[in-house]
Symmetry: C2
Subunit: 275 residues, 2 copies
């Protein structure tokens, strides 16, 4: 690219970094790209780092040495996350969202790109220090949350199917019992979709007793993969402790009470904000 | 926020705009946010606009007058899009991707956030001048493409289910005949998922004769909604012209030949690049 003025270079470097989260970019690559001295590039990066961290939109990690460079990690400051989450909880409490079985209608909200970007950034912040190779979810409603998180962490997504109509070569299927409804269900994943020994972050939209997530964990066992973390958008607190199949997870919101008669629910920020 | 130096303000404005595509931000809002004169803000925006357009990453539309402001529209220059698409076509031609029925295994590629970001930007560029209220896709593989496009255009996504197990209140179901396999299938959408008169962009991963997309169009008719455009990632050219149900669509790649014996395919950039 042509040599830029300082002000233009700052704009260009900012967009370049934002478009490449969790990617190490060497100082040499920047110096070549902008035909500038590494010392100027370092000064620019210091300005960008300060703004990103001041605004709480992410961290700029600098690695010194020959293999050194800079890596942008999208984050959201907890105070802003909590503020946004309280707004989301208020929307989730709208009475016409209560569905039979104590589920919540939230498909419309999971269709909104700005909400998804915020939630993806919250999960990326919550799991920033874990070593993760891939994000797993089960169709259908967890999919946008998984992708929004993957975009921040720059890792791929695999989607577990709820049937065994996998047309993608050999597949592993398991039967699992949904913890709350006690019904036997099937989930499948194509053999080629996941490498052995992968470290997997499980993301889903809603958790009651945790049967679906336990099913995904059983599936991971079949692939000799390990669970690097579990993140759910909304957990239902309407579950007896002894029914809960899962202890170690992060929730962004918690449904604490449902009155099926009045269709009134109480939804509060989840354990990510309280633990 | 605290008053920033010029260089920091440029970084902050760049990230602020990039995080809010297709959103009108008034000069007054910027002037308040940065405690700066509108004239300084305008100068900064001129620099950002020049860099964005020089790099082909998007347009910055400025609207003059009292209701004026600036709007960032993510784009991808056609020459860069073609270069990226040729790389994608090469990957799609790997012989182990041919599935029974002449379908292509591309689930792994549709799990990659960087590929999705590129493809979403291509669709956003292709449909930039259309008036679109919502993006529609059918589960499962089209979903990430729909969200990647929605993120660029800042509009919501609705997902059509392939069964009628919609637990979200009353739903509209239609039967459709998949044009290539001639099998009768069902698709459904919850009544509350789509407002009447919506202008809808249909996005899907793969199109043979177009039966699935024709099904979505029939469903839109039931909602008194209209089709604002159709975008498919890969179209199959292995369809007789008289079998093709659909004429007006944009494809990013085209499967022109499959040899089931050698598992060799030929995939070229789609009609977006040639028409």
């Amino acid at each position: 690219m042509k040599k830029l003025k300082r002000s233009s270079r700052l704009v260009e470097m900012t967009q370049y970094l934002l478009a490449r989260p969790h990617t190490l970019i060497s100082l040499t690559a920047f110096a070549d790209r902008y035909q500038s001295a590494k010392s100027s590039i370092s000064e620019d990066l210091a300005i960008i780092k300060e703004v990103f961290e001041e605004e709480g939109i992410g961290e700029l990690h600098t690695l010194a040495g020959a293999a050194g460079g800079v890596k942008y990690m999208p984050m959201m400051r907890e105070s802003l996350a909590l503020e946004i989450m309280k707004e989301i909880c208020k929307k989730l409490e709208q009475p016409d969202r209560v569905l039979p079985g104590g589920y919540l209608y939230m498909t419309d909200m999971l269709g909104q790109p700005d909400l998804l970007a915020d939630v993806g950034r919250m999960f990326a912040t919550a799991f920033a220090d874990r070593k993760i190779d891939v994000i797993m979810t089960v169709e259908t409603k967890g999919i946008p949350l998984a992708y929004a998180t993957a975009a921040c962490l720059n890792i791929p997504v695999v989607i577990v199917r709820r049937d065994n109509k996998v047309t993608e070569g050999s597949a592993v299927s398991i039967n699992y019992v949904s913890g709350s409804t006690k019904r036997i269900q099937t989930m499948s994943l194509a053999r080629r979709a996941l490498k052995e020994q992968s470290r997997v972050l499980i993301i889903d939209d809603f958790m009651k007793a945790g049967g679906t997530i336990q099913g995904m964990m059983d599936l991971l066992y079949e692939f000799k993969a390990t669970v690097a973390g579990v993140g759910v958008f909304v957990e239902s607190g309407e579950v007896e402790m002894e029914e809960r199949l899962l202890e170690d997870y992060i929730s962004l919101a918690k449904l604490t009470a449902v009155d099926m008669k009045t269709k009134q629910t109480t939804i509060i920020p989840g354990n990510y904000f309280t633990s």
